[in-house]
């Protein structure tokens, strides 16, 4: 039987999405025709799109890949149901990052130099292609069943694991390259965020982000269709998230103390306040998730995952915007086109995830 294509209902979110996409497409067009609307320069090279789409997108993608690969290797039956969701998340993370990269560069003429093999974009492109390949291999049997086609040969699945590992390597390389890129000129970055350990911090926080997004998405899938993770599984993931966040926060604070950077979060400087906010958004979920009773409540675990996600966003934006603002003593405000493009790309990613979650079995609860 041929699947019926359902026309989406025009609810509140559909209207929001339509408005945001219309504005985003127009802003994208303007940026490509007339260039970026914010004077990005060698002094202030990063924008909202770099922080929100590229850094956060790659973080979520790397987190998703690392989770999927570790679950495949360790063969943890308890967390096996989240492998598919992790893979989809990784792919969409790269889609968001690639769209962010393309749009943050403005005019089409500037896109050409992205083809250098030593560029970070090269690594991202490879990670993107591999993630797409892994995803296709994972979902081909379901797609075939869904569209009434013939099932693909079984041996095709054996390619999945090697491809997944190469993708993990590329995603880690992307994280490391981004961290190196951000502190290529250490005098232009505040010592609160510039550290030799930045690649490691990026990696650990990426795994936390991947886990947090899975819990966050599962809650929304459960609310919409009841096909999300079971409360027991959410409690287990919440426990793992608390441990990872604790590890990340511990090494982050230890690094600041080791480098002798004063943690003057109560001082009136915006960078200190924002660092304090970043720490709070990571500390609060840890405190809440330590309590077994809170772990049993999926709503609290969901809120904690939201806070952890907000902590990651704060960290990435602080690293690429606040730290430069603090070091260069300048202020940055995103232009209207940056704002629209950044949020429309995120909306596109969320809508794509929702579309996939409705049609394919993302969470395979036994």
């Amino acid at each position: 039987m041929k699947p019926v294509l359902h026309v989406p209902r025009w609810n509140f979110w559909a209207w929001c999405f339509a408005l945001l996409m219309t504005g985003g497409i127009y802003a994208f067009y303007v940026r490509f025709l007339h260039g970026v609307d914010h004077p990005l320069s060698n002094v202030f090279p990063w924008s909202l799109i770099t922080g929100l789409n590229v850094l956060c997108g790659i973080a979520i993608a790397a987190g998703g890949f690392t989770l999927a690969a570790s679950l495949c290797v360790l063969n943890l039956a308890a967390f096996r149901p989240i492998v598919r969701a992790s893979l989809v998340l990784s792919f969409l993370g790269y889609v968001v990052a690639v769209l962010g990269l393309v749009s943050s560069r403005g005019r089409i003429a500037f896109q050409v130099d992205a083809r250098q093999s030593h560029s970070i974009l090269h690594g991202i492109a490879w990670a993107f292609i591999l993630s797409a390949a892994v995803l296709i291999l994972e979902f081909v049997p379901d797609m075939a069943k869904h569209f009434g086609g013939r099932e693909p040969p079984h041996w095709l699945r054996f390619l999945n694991l090697p491809l997944l590992f190469v993708a993990v390597v590329f995603s880690v390389v992307c994280q490391t390259s981004l961290a190196d890129l951000l502190q290529s000129l250490p005098e232009r970055v505040s010592p609160l965020w510039s550290t030799p350990q930045l690649p490691f911090f990026f990696f650990v926080s990426a795994v936390c982000a991947g886990l947090a997004v899975i819990i966050f998405a599962s809650w929304h899938i459960n609310v919409a269709s009841g096909k999300g993770l079971s409360p027991e599984r959410v409690a287990g993931l919440g426990k793992v998230l608390a441990v990872l966040l604790f590890l990340y926060l511990g090494v982050r604070i230890a690094d600041l103390v080791y480098r002798g950077v004063p943690l003057l979060v109560w001082k009136d400087n915006p960078e200190n306040v924002l660092l304090g906010l970043e720490i709070c958004l990571i500390l609060l979920p840890i405190v809440l998730l330590i309590d077994e009773r809170n772990l049993e409540n999926p709503r609290i675990v969901y809120l904690c995952s939201g806070m952890a996600l907000a902590g990651l966003i704060t960290n990435r934006l602080n690293t690429c915007i606040t730290s430069v603002e603090a070091a260069m003593n300048s202020r940055y405000l995103p232009g209207w086109s940056e704002f629209l493009v950044a949020y429309s790309i995120i909306a596109l990613g969320v809508a794509a995830f929702s579309f996939v979650a409705k049609r394919l079995p993302l969470v395979l609860e036994p």
């Binding site: 509140f12 929100l52 009841g226 409360p231 924002l274 049993e296 409540n297 907000a310 966003i313 405000l333």
Partner: protein, 233 residues
């Protein structure tokens, strides 16, 4: 500034997501066939049906420990009989955490709505869809098909200490029946020979007596249905 802007947008989306969340689809609850509990062994004590292994909250809700911290809950036959024809049941949201004694459901009868508490503390993992569609099942079969929800309760051991179980149940039910008889001694809905009251006693007594009954047996204040209030006026 950009960081705060991004966080505000994130918080706004979360709040709007909460306000404009879609209603839980039927697939959120498993099919009734797979969740149907075993029919309990009913013992007749003091002329009343007492299901074996069930625990009872003083507000006439029951809890059945099914293992793996899963507790099936429902309304006992005494409460179901008091309501008579139940028109609608509103149950707390799926995956919501309810505390012992906190509101779990609102039962709307012909003339009155009453909040009933949860007998145990935990997360609401399943809701009986059959009861939402046809609330009359609660009156006809309160201990089996008329179950209300399944709660995942990690603290069931502690919660059970606050519930009536085993040998305590029959005397408590008998006391409830005696008290009911005393309160409604003038009502024609109760036979003076000691037989069970007619179903829907709450709809047959005066508003004053009805409020007293609700306060006594459900430890709460009732919400009077609009049409019923008009009728009494």
């Amino acid at each position: 500034m950009s960081v705060l802007l991004a966080l505000l947008m994130f918080a706004l989306v979360m709040i709007l997501g909460h306000l404009f969340k879609p209603r839980v689809q039927p697939s959120a609850t498993a099919p009734a066939e797979t969740l149907r509990p075993f029919r309990p062994l009913i013992e007749s004590k003091f002329g009343m049906d007492v299901p074996r292994a069930y625990c009872f909250h003083p507000c006439h809700t029951w809890a059945l420990d099914e293992g793996r911290q899963l507790i099936r809950v429902g309304v006992d036959s005494f409460a179901a009989n008091l309501f008579g024809k139940i028109e609608h049941i509103d149950i707390a949201g799926l995956y919501r955490w309810v505390r012992q004694g906190q509101r779990l459901m609102t039962i709307t009868g012909a003339s009155v709505s009453v909040d009933l508490p949860s007998p145990v503390e935990g997360a609401l993992t399943e809701v009986n869809r059959a009861v939402l569609e046809d609330a009359a099942v609660v009156t006809t079969d309160p201990y089996c098909d008329g179950w209300i929800a399944v709660i995942r309760s990690p603290s069931i051991g502690t919660d059970q200490k606050n519930l009536m179980r085993g040998a305590m149940v029959a005397p408590w039910m008998r006391y409830s029946m005696m008290f009911l008889r005393e309160m409604c001694s003038q009502s024609p809905a109760l036979a003076q020979d000691g037989g069970p009251p007619l179903p829907g006693l709450l709809n047959r007594v005066s508003p004053v007596v009805r409020d007293r009954l609700v306060k006594e047996f459900f430890l709460t204040t009732p919400t009077v249905q609009a049409h019923s209030a008009d009728q009494h006026l």
